[in-house]
């Protein structure tokens, strides 16, 4: 068959291959409920910091960390945005979980810095203010991080 397969036909076939691969890459991402849930929990922890005692805040933080860890093990790599397909790790990018995790650690730092700044400015509920700010960043920035991971996946070679 290769004897009569033309250059143009081979190009069309490779185009089909790449288009199918792109359809799977388009599935890389996190479910919307993850970002909304994370933002809501972030605000809840911020509010607790302002109104509850240290023990309650400590317990709530540990519970949040445990629940997030359990949920994120399945989701953090962005390979299961829907339950209909699981994107291969080498397609999604081996560093995707690290990128998302680093962003979360960075946001924790931003929350602390913003809360300290608000406290120094005399705000009545500094942790709540900081957590609302970071919740907005999560909702706006989370999907953009996944879009960047998708763009990176699209740039990689089709066949490894």
């Amino acid at each position: 068959m290769t004897d009569y397969l033309s250059d143009a036909e081979a190009r069309v076939a490779l185009h089909d291959v790449e288009r199918a691969r792109q359809r799977v890459i388009d599935q890389i991402g996190m479910p919307k409920w993850y970002w909304w849930g994370l933002a809501a929990c972030w605000i809840a922890l911020g509010v607790l910091n302002d109104v509850a005692n240290a023990w309650i805040v400590a317990v709530a933080t540990i519970v949040f960390g445990a629940v997030h860890s359990a949920v994120s093990q399945r989701l953090l790599a962005g390979r299961r945005q829907t339950g209909n397909v699981k994107v291969r790790r080498d397609v999604a990018g081996r560093h995707a979980p690290l990128i998302v995790f680093s962003c979360l650690v960075g946001l924790a730092g931003v929350t602390i810095a913003a809360a300290l700044a608000a406290y120094a400015d005399g705000a009545e509920h500094p942790a709540t203010m900081a957590s609302v700010l970071v919740a907005v960043i999560i909702l706006l920035g989370g999907p953009r991080v996944m879009a960047a991971i998708r763009a990176g996946a699209s740039r990689r070679d089709a066949v490894r």
Partner: protein, 97 residues
């Protein structure tokens, strides 16, 4: 079915090539996902998957999830190897043109 240069006549027809290409980028994919992405009918997709399964290129799994039957397709190591060789053969045709 496979030529010396890796060209695979079983994979090459457009619909099967698209199905295998989808599966090559995934660990597994649901029947409904493949059907919707490629705009195929149930019977057309079943037929193509059966052909690929008989050739040992694809495995069909039926996990019981959320009280409903799902059908998942997964590329076998042999299927992945043949697909990679087939794409290399296509690239070779272009490079040699």
């Amino acid at each position: 079915m496979t030529a010396d240069n890796g060209f695979d006549e079983l994979i090459h027809p457009a619909t099967r090539l698209q199905i295998v290409s989808l599966l090559a980028a995934a660990d597994w994919a649901d029947f409904t996902f493949i059907r919707e992405q490629l705009g195929l009918s149930d019977s057309a997709l079943s037929k193509q998957l059966s052909t690929l399964e008989e050739a040992g290129y694809v495995t069909i799994e039926r996990p019981l999830s959320e009280r409903r039957r799902r059908v998942r397709a997964r590329l076998t190591p042999v299927g992945r190897e043949r697909f990679t060789a087939h794409v290399a053969a296509l690239q070779g045709i272009i490079a040699g043109a």
